[in-house]
């Protein structure tokens, strides 16, 4: 062996000075690879603290809510009965980037986690366009502190129960608290606190305006097709067009700005839940990329440490074993199968991009003329920065990875008796598999598409939403509890209409229609 091994430490025990020396080495290597990261704040915590962190979805400071307690109990139960190992690390998209290490990890694990979280995830948070556009790493911790304080104050003033009910309702809609296409203004705790009183007053006047005065209908605007009133209204009293004038996908935003009866503090809490949902929005869309990127870098960095003789064989073997476990992908028919493993998929794609850059085959040149033979580090950086799971897979999933993972596409149509294998890992199937897998990660496909189409400001103040159905997939049974929550926030009846290709397939109402008829005079 050419290198003389001078391992920084051996065995499985660690201490802070050893960790610091490993971190220095990793930082040096990361710098060599031009990984751009936030400063790291590495916190060593106990198992119980890790379960806490888990329960609060990794927010270092969280407001109080029973659902986090439920989460904690579930994690605790699973952990105690050995059904689940705790994650070895948890990392928070903030500046400095906070990473948690569990105290009972072995030395190898700690080094692996530092490489994975503090250099992998960290650089992803800093570089990826979604995180850059949607989250504000500088201020998130401050904002969480602000949110916690504000909600605690509300609990004191208005009672724990009232706040809890409101949060329940907001949580039910939090996946619909995000503007998908426009960049939100960054959140800043200081400003929030400063402007909050102002905003309370202002918001209320806005809402009052909306409901007090009936807006002038824009001249010459024809009643929209499907408008509820057009035929029975010869004088055109109701023909003022719909409000909102365009469908709104951000339900919580719409509620915050337009719900007639919410008190200012309630609007503020809606806003808090919405802001936090927005903070987590990029994470929901970049799981494969984020984990793949982090795995790629821990793999690369650990191998470099080994090549330079900074770690011994024992540690390296332990690393390889745990790395293999992380990126293991059981087949669909395995008892251990629980869906595609984002670590495995992401790692495979990033490794494959590197391969395509360094040693492209004829196939690669056909499929990826742009990147075949290009410098791998730049190409990888480009892929990390400018994509989300959906587009990343569409762009970079290569035939080789499809073959390696033996991916295949099944069409499950409730109108036919059998499932159909629509494509497999062969020449005819690559594109279809890639397309299908890409859309499998698209939030717009994963979650039902639901938008506010009308608030009846001239009528009974009811709120109408449309569910745009896709491939006849109906809403799950949870729809009633959710629209009940929505109705609580809105304060007036809520109608949800499932549509497919312009035709109504199903209507949901809350309160359930018979009741509301009785209530009306």
């Amino acid at each position: 062996m050419s290198v003389t091994r001078k391992p920084i430490a051996t065995g499985s025990d660690w201490n802070f000075s050893v960790l610091e020396r490993f971190d220095e080495e990793l930082a040096r290597l990361a710098d060599e690879y031009r990984l751009d990261t936030y400063p790291n704040q590495i916190e060593v915590i106990t198992t119980e603290q890790m379960m806490d962190a888990y329960a609060s979805v990794g927010m270092p400071v969280g407001y109080h809510h029973w659902s986090f307690g439920k989460q904690f109990l579930a994690v605790e139960q699973a952990y105690k009965r050995g059904q689940m190992g705790l994650a070895y690390e948890l990392v928070i998209n903030s500046n400095p980037c906070i990473a948690y290490l569990m105290e009972e990890n072995t030395l190898m694990m700690q080094v692996l986690v530092i490489a994975h979280a503090c250099y992998g995830h960290n650089s992803f948070f800093k570089g990826n366009y979604l995180f850059r556009a949607w989250t504000d790493a500088e201020s998130i911790v401050d904002y969480l502190v602000f949110a916690r304080k504000y909600i605690a104050q509300c609990e004191e003033r208005h009672g724990v129960h009232a706040v809890e009910q409101l949060l329940d309702a907001c949580h039910a809609l939090q996946n619909y608290g995000v503007d998908r296409y426009k960049r939100p203004s960054p959140i800043s705790a200081e400003e929030e606190a400063k402007r909050q009183d102002e905003r309370e007053a202002y918001l209320q006047t806005q809402v009052n305006m909306l409901w007090r005065t009936i807006p002038e209908p824009p001249a010459g605007m024809a009643p929209l097709p499907g408008s509820l009133h057009s035929d029975d209204d010869p004088l055109g009293l109701h023909s003022g067009g719909l409000y909102p004038s365009e469908p709104q996908e951000n339900l919580l935003y719409f509620i915050e700005k337009n719900a007639p009866l919410l008190a200012p503090w309630q609007r503020e809490i809606v806003r808090i839940v919405r802001k936090l949902a927005q903070y987590f929005y990029p994470q929901r869309q970049t799981q494969v990329m984020n984990e793949g990127w982090a795995c790629f870098w821990h793999y690369t960095l650990m191998n470099r440490l080994y090549d330079e003789g900074k770690v011994d064989e024992g540690l390296m073997l332990e690393f390889l074993q745990s790395h293999a476990a992380v990126i293991n992908q059981p087949g669909f028919d395995s008892p251990y199968y629980s869906g595609l493993n984002p670590y495995a998929l992401g790692f495979a794609i990033f490794m494959d991009i590197k391969r395509i850059c360094e040693t492209p085959t004829q196939e690669d040149r056909e499929w990826f003329p742009d990147i075949a033979g290009s410098p791998w580090r730049e190409t990888l950086e480009f892929a990390m920065r400018n994509f989300k799971d959906e587009s990343f897979i569409q762009q970079f999933l290569s035939p080789k990875v499809i073959r390696d993972l033996k991916l295949f596409l099944i069409v499950d149509d409730d109108q036919s008796e059998m499932l159909e294998v629509a494509a497999i890992h062969d020449e005819r199937g690559y594109k279809r598999v890639r397309e299908a897998l890409s859309s499998q990660y698209a939030l717009s496909v994963r979650e039902p598409n639901i938008q506010v189409v009308e608030a009846a400001i001239r009528g009974d103040r009811s709120l109408t939403l449309h569910h745009i159905q896709d491939h006849r997939r109906p809403l799950g049974r949870s729809v009633y509890p959710v629209i009940r929550h929505l109705q609580q926030l809105w304060g007036f009846p809520v109608h949800l209409v499932s549509m497919e290709e312009g035709k109504v397939t199903r209507r949901y109402h809350w309160p359930v229609e018979e009741d509301s008829k009785e209530v009306k005079p």
């Binding site: 802070f16 400063p39 704040q41 590495i42 916190e43 060593v44 119980e48 603290q49 329960a55 609060s56 109080h64 029973w66 659902s67 986090f68 307690g69 904690f72 109990l73 579930a74 139960q77 948690y100 724990v160 329940d168 039910a172 996946n175 619909y176 992908q329 059981p330 087949g331 669909f332 595609l340 033996k406 991916l407 295949f408 596409l409 099944i410 499950d412 149509d413 409730d414 008796e417 499932l419 159909e420 294998v421 629509a422 494509a423 497999i424 890992h425 598999v433 299908a436 859309s439 499998q440 979650e447 039902p448 159905q469 896709d470 997939r473 109906p474 809403l475 799950g476 949870s478 729809v479």
Partner: protein, 429 residues
Amino acid sequence: MTYFIDRRPNAKHKSAVNRQRFLERYRKHIKRSVEEAVNRRSITDMERGEKISIPAKDISEPVFQHGQGGARNIVSPGNKEFLQGDKIRRPGGQGGGGGAGEGGASNQGEGSDEFAFTLSREEFLEFVFDGLELPHLQRKPLKSLEEIKMVRAGLARDGVPSRISITRSMREAYARRIAMRAPIKRALKEAQEALAAEERKDPVLRNPARIVELKAEIERLEKRIEAVPFIDTYDLRYHQLAAQPQPSSQAVMFCVMDVSGSMTQNHKDIAKRFFLLLYLFLEKHYEKVELVFVRHHTAAREVNEEEFFYSRETGGTIVSSALNLVNKIIEKRYPAGQWNLYVAQASDGDNWDDDSNICRDLLVKQLMPQLQYYAYVEITPHDHQSLWHEYETVAAQFPERFAMRQIVDAGDIYPVFRELFKRRLSQER
């Protein structure tokens, strides 16, 4: 830039508030599970947590999601034998594929899973006490694990004057005196010998200056010897006390229950909580608590717990048979001098009319003089019969140690023990 922070010493139980909120919100569910656990468990086995299950649909957090049906595409890994165009039968029941890649799609609804978690020992007892309407002041002493007693544990250099160990202090002082004087004494001896040698010399050869010097030295040394204190604060030794968990001694608890036909299972469940509370109390205060179960109808028998609570018999009721048996067992196995004796009796109040005054005499003359406490509950919504009235005269004679009460549900149990708990609490202060 990297900072390492050791957070381990920091705030534990960060989720405690959320956990409490959760328990509060699902109080009803949890209470039901705890009640079941109490009925199921032995009354000596309340000192551990309990696994609680709540139907997952009751605690789900709903969000909009896709339901079953329609057409969907699923990409899965690990294809072995499929070719494009193959048709596969749907895997049994559920719609195909198990929702590959749809993270979170299965966290509710389908499958009707139970949400299971574990209550800690404290939380469990808290729920038990809740049903018994135990005042909060009483809950803590019952939940705390051990009684503490201060015991001597070696010596220490500081303490309060009343705990000085005289022998050890004097021994220390003696040793110190020897140690401090030894070098001075040696020097003194040398000086005296030098002086003697000087004085033995021929007067012409004597060095007067040397003699003066030696005499001064001797005087100085003698003073120094005197100055060594007889006792110093340095020498003091104190007996040290250490807190040691120390339940006081042993007790035996007699559970006496009427099992005649008129006692239903519901009566017995209430009785079980009655015995349970007394047991928890005794367990806190005695090192060893033995349980004796005596059941009776027209004749009494000593049985094990299982049989005591769960087997049924029919027939009339003669309470004195049980009291006699208790008395015999005490004589034979638990002499009053060595055991603290407690009797808890549960009945529905039925008794043969001419047996009740026998019971009273038995209690007043034989049992009560030996017992620490006698608790009687009558589980009936009906009017009292002769037994109750006879017991009332006993209660009048032993107001401190005889408690009786009519109860309809578990919440009425605690007042029976009120005196007992109160006394204990005032003793502790």
